[in-house]
């Protein structure tokens, strides 16, 4: 189908983009890679009056080293995240997750920030970003603010972003040397997760010193499996400790509960191994 009519705007600075969003009002929308928004427009699930294309804001592209954390620009594509050395060294989980998103063509256009702002519960980056304690850096008419991931994901397709705000960067603490794994269950013809588990673990002298576990698509937003994390810390990185901890993964839905436990066990086993 053909999208409904809209006005198209191409700002060259963040300030200009924020001003345009404010001026165009509630029915204006940001377009990043367009890989979620264009199908939405084509199926006429939404009909924004104006699209503000942030594709020209080069300062939102790329990953920067910021001391104890990485700053991932919202416009960094999945393809770029997959190949970024800082991500590989300090946030391996994000690379492993991104490898599983969609297909090569979509990964060339789709962006890190766009995935988070779209907030599809089946989106793969939400749970890892939550589990890794990332912080969203947001620009709006009254300046910049920071929102922790735990407060950013509000509900199905709903975030803490106001209609006139733009996600600029995501601050991800460094997890240098942590083992990581993303265990994803999906149908072959569609990359979207039925359920998936993101795990990162720090193993010291054979014992788990810290763990992060996030669950994809078990509810209206990403879930952090804090009980699983707590049960792991201080344990030997053994099969018994992992299966015991994995039993605590829970979603509140019978079928998905079981999936969550099985996949948590597999994710942790692989994360501990490397």
């Amino acid at each position: 189908m053909i999208p409904a009519e809209f006005k198209y705007m191409f700002p060259s600075t963040v300030d200009e983009a924020v001003r345009m969003l404010a001026e165009e009002g509630e029915d204006a929308k940001v377009i990043a890679g367009g890989q979620s928004l264009v199908p939405v427009l084509r199926m006429r699930l939404a009909a924004p009056t104006a699209l503000i294309d942030i594709g020209g804001l080069t300062e939102l592209t790329g990953v920067r080293d910021d001391g104890d954390s990485l700053l991932i620009g919202a416009m960094t594509t999945h393809y770029e995240v997959q190949r970024d050395h800082l991500v590989q060294d300090h946030a391996l989980l994000l690379r492993l997750v991104t490898d599983t998103i969609a297909d090569p063509q979509i990964r060339h256009r789709g962006t890190f920030g766009g995935s988070l702002c779209h907030a599809d519960p089946a989106g793969d980056l939400l749970a890892p970003v939550l589990a890794l304690d990332a912080v969203m850096i947001i620009a709006g008419p009254s300046g910049r603010r920071e929102v922790p991931a735990a407060e950013f994901f509000v509900d199905y397709f709903t975030t803490a972003l106001a209609p006139d705000e733009i996600l600029l960067d995501v601050r991800v603490p460094k997890y240098t040397g942590w083992g990581a794994h993303y265990e994803k269950l999906n149908r072959v013809a569609q990359a979207w997760s039925i359920v998936a588990v993101a795990a990162a673990v720090q193993v010291r002298d054979g014992a788990i010193s810290a763990a992060r576990v996030g669950l994809t698509n078990v509810g209206s937003g990403p879930l952090r499996a804090t009980e699983v994390e707590a049960a792991l810390v201080g344990q030997q990185a053994s099969a018994e400790a992992i299966s015991e901890a994995a039993l605590r993964a829970s979603s509140g839905d019978g079928y998905k509960d079981n999936l969550a436990r099985v996949l948590t066990g597999r994710a942790l086993t692989a994360a501990v191994a490397g």
């Binding site: 053909i2 264009v38 199908p39 084509r42 199926m43 294309d53 090569p104 063509q105």
Partner: protein
Amino acid sequence: MHISVNVDGVTYADEVEPRLLLVHYLRERLSKTGTVVGCDTGNCGACTVHLDGHSVKSCQMLAVQANGHEVTTIEGLARDGKLHPVQEAFHSNHALQCGFCTPGMIMQAIDLLADESDPDDETVRKGLEGNLCRCTGYQNIVRAVQDAAQRMKPGAGPKQEQHSDEHISSKQPVGGE
């Protein structure tokens, strides 16, 4: 809105509606009907083209987003009346039946081969994940991509471009002395 896009080596300047999809711009305005549309959701990959050298689904982009960029379609692959090696490999390996998925498959295969010059079976299947074929069962498509990789190996170009000893000697003057 006014846009300027280079498509298959030619720069076009056009006035387009912002809601015009890139694939419709290519097909309806530039008559590049080699690029086809198979779905509404970005799943099938039939519309794959290259944007600045990387594969994208042209139904998932607005034409205005291509402003100032370079697009290559299936129609821009042949050179001097000769098929691209990936096109040739699809032809000789019977990698198509109805042919609807073929333009997208070939464009994505070229992208894949740019990253992986000698891909194994699994790598080809992963690389073509975003392209659906309703006819072939994929076997011959995978074979064709692997065959294309061989055809595109350094030194595997057309005969006249090869620098074998035989070729050089054939250029030496014959029967002069």
